[in-house]
């Protein structure tokens, strides 16, 4: 749709359009900053995500130890040993990164496996306990990345919309209004000149 017919051609409108353009450009700058910050945050989290494979191997190792404890003690024996574990406490609180709400997991109390008397169950418990902290960190990083990636995509869309649609539209409108105003002032100038000529001719 062309700019013509979309706005009244007055100096007031031109001023308002220029103000709007300036505001939109500032908004665009801010969104670009937000985008860069979110991208930097994602980059910071990527090494943690890369740990997943190592963690998978550790989980398999801990699972093997657990299986041995299971084989040694049976279900009821292992259940009894596991019941002595002082369980871990975690608190999840929301944190804002450039307006994006991400979860932050705080380990308030670590699990205590020292009361397990069976050596094989204790070994399995110890491996799982050590793993738990890393698993929480990974889950936190994955959840953050998920939220940030969504926001990054939305911010990118907004920046693109401003850059390719809104700002060019405003510029076109301003150019149109400026052109029309210039035409009107030329017309006015010519009319005044003609009036002066007519008056002089009559004299």
């Amino acid at each position: 749709m062309s700019a013509a017919g979309r706005a009244a051609v007055t100096r007031g409108v031109l001023l308002r359009l220029r103000e709007q353009l300036e505001f939109t450009r500032k908004g665009q700058e801010l969104l670009k900053m937000k985008r860069d910050h979110l991208a930097a945050e994602t980059n910071k989290l990527l090494p943690k995500i890369a740990e997943r494979e190592r963690l998978d191997r550790k989980i398999m190792g801990a699972y093997e130890s657990l299986k041995v404890a299971y084989l040694n003690l049976g279900y009821s024996g292992l259940y009894s040993q596991a019941s002595t574990v002082d369980k871990m406490n975690v608190r999840i609180r929301p944190r804002s990164i450039m307006g994006v709400i991400v979860p932050e997991v705080l380990v308030e109390k670590e699990a205590n496996v020292d009361s397990i008397s069976s050596p094989s169950a204790h070994q399995a418990g110890l491996e799982l306990k050590n793993l738990m902290k890393e698993l929480i960190e990974l889950a936190e990083a994955e959840s953050r990345i998920e939220n940030i990636a969504y926001e990054l995509m939305m911010t990118n869309r907004k920046v693109n919309a401003l850059e390719r649609v809104l700002i060019p539209g405003l510029l076109e409108l301003i150019r149109y209004v400026e052109g029309r105003l210039e035409e009107e002032s030329l017309e006015e100038f010519f009319r005044t000149k003609r009036v002066k000529q007519v008056i002089r001719g009559v004299q």
Binding site: L71, Y75, S80, S83, V85, D86, D114, S115
Partner: protein, 342 residues
């Protein structure tokens, strides 16, 4: 000179021994592809009655474990019913290992104020014990549970409550229960005429239990003073001094410290193991059951034969639990074969 009742007991035990599953039976079962194949083979054993009651779709390692433990309890108490006099007193004290295990399980749960259900205990009937397990399972915490033991042979557990609070772990109470158990068995053994074989088996078990305690806490780097505090004061071949040296020395030095005690080979095996914490229980149990098998072959006219039989009943239950759990968890055969106590 043996009493006729003792001879009768030994003779009955000889008969019951035939019902034990052999190592070959275990190996065959270990090759099974599924639990239903194991169940089919168990239908030809002492477990047939209970196993046949299980609906086909409800066969799992947890239900089977309950049956194996139930049969173990039954075997212990059938033997007790066959005995008289001092032998009966001794077997009664010996069978208390089952109620001690249940007490440990309850105290572990009460340590973290958790509820414990009957299905997580060894199925001991009211006729087999003087302890009111129903009441114990409902206790709120360790203090309440221990107070319920006031009128029993475990009343002195309350003397260790301060130590339990200081250390903050039920391990102190567990080892004290073991101490009470072995002290009682040792005392009742004194009333028997030919107790050499029993002394050897019970003494080795106490020693191996102490070795497990020392090795376990050594690997966890627990201060030697605390390890010395929790050892079971029933010493057979391992004197307190040796246990102290073990607690204070390095893990690699244990075979040297144990030289001349007949446990040096066990220590060697533990030190050589790639994962000593994981293999410790298997290594020590294998040694105990190896001794029991030896006793079963050589002490056939002594009361030691009865103890050896009971130990092998335990081994059978343990092996069946390992086997069925392994099949349920789909553990490869070669991995769980070495965990079987054959």
């Amino acid at each position: 000179m043996r009493f006729p009742s003792t001879i009768y007991l030994i003779t009955r035990t000889h008969g019951r021994r035939i019902h034990l599953l052999t190592s070959e039976d275990m190996r065959v079962m270990a090759k099974s592809k599924s639990l239903s194949e194991v169940v089919d083979q168990l239908l030809r054993s002492d477990y047939a009655g209970e196993v046949s009651k299980l609906p086909t779709g409800e066969v799992d390692s947890v239900r089977l474990e309950k049956i194996f433990l139930g049969t173990l309890v039954e075997r212990f108490f059938t033997l007790m019913r066959d005995s008289k006099g001092n032998a009966r007193d001794f077997i009664e004290a010996y069978a208390a290992r089952l109620e001690v295990e249940n007490l440990k399980r309850i105290l572990r749960a009460k340590h973290v104020q958790e509820k414990i259900e009957d299905r997580n205990l060894i199925p001991l009937g009211r006729e087999h014990t003087l302890i009111n397990f129903q009441a114990l399972t409902k206790a709120e915490n360790v203090d309440e549970a221990v107070s319920l033991l006031r009128e029993t042979v475990y009343a002195s557990v309350s003397d260790r409550l301060d130590d339990y609070r200081r250390v903050g772990s039920p391990i102190v109470l567990e080892s004290f229960l073991d101490s009470l158990y072995f002290a009682r068995v040792w005392e009742r053994m004194g009333g028997l005429v030919d107790n050499e074989g029993i002394k050897w088996l019970v003494g080795e078990e106490a020693d191996l239990r102490n070795l497990q305690l020392v090795f376990t806490y050594k690997m966890r780097e627990v201060p030697p003073r605390l390890v010395e505090e929790i050892v079971i004061p029933t010493f057979y071949r391992l004197r307190r001094g040796i246990l102290r040296s073990l607690a204070q020395g390095r893990l690699e030095d244990t075979p040297e410290i144990l030289a001349g005690t007949s446990y040096d080979d066990v220590a060697e095996e533990i030190v050589r193991s790639r994962e000593p914490a994981i293999d410790l229980e298997t290594i020590l149990s294998k040694r105990l059951y190896k001794d029991a098998s030896f006793a079963l072959r050589n002490l056939f006219l002594e009361l030691g034969y009865v103890v050896a039989y009971l130990l092998l009943c335990e081994r059978e239950a343990g092996n069946l639990i390992t086997l069925t759990t392994a099949l349920d968890l789909k553990v490869p055969e070669e991995d769980f074969q070495r965990r079987l106590l054959l």
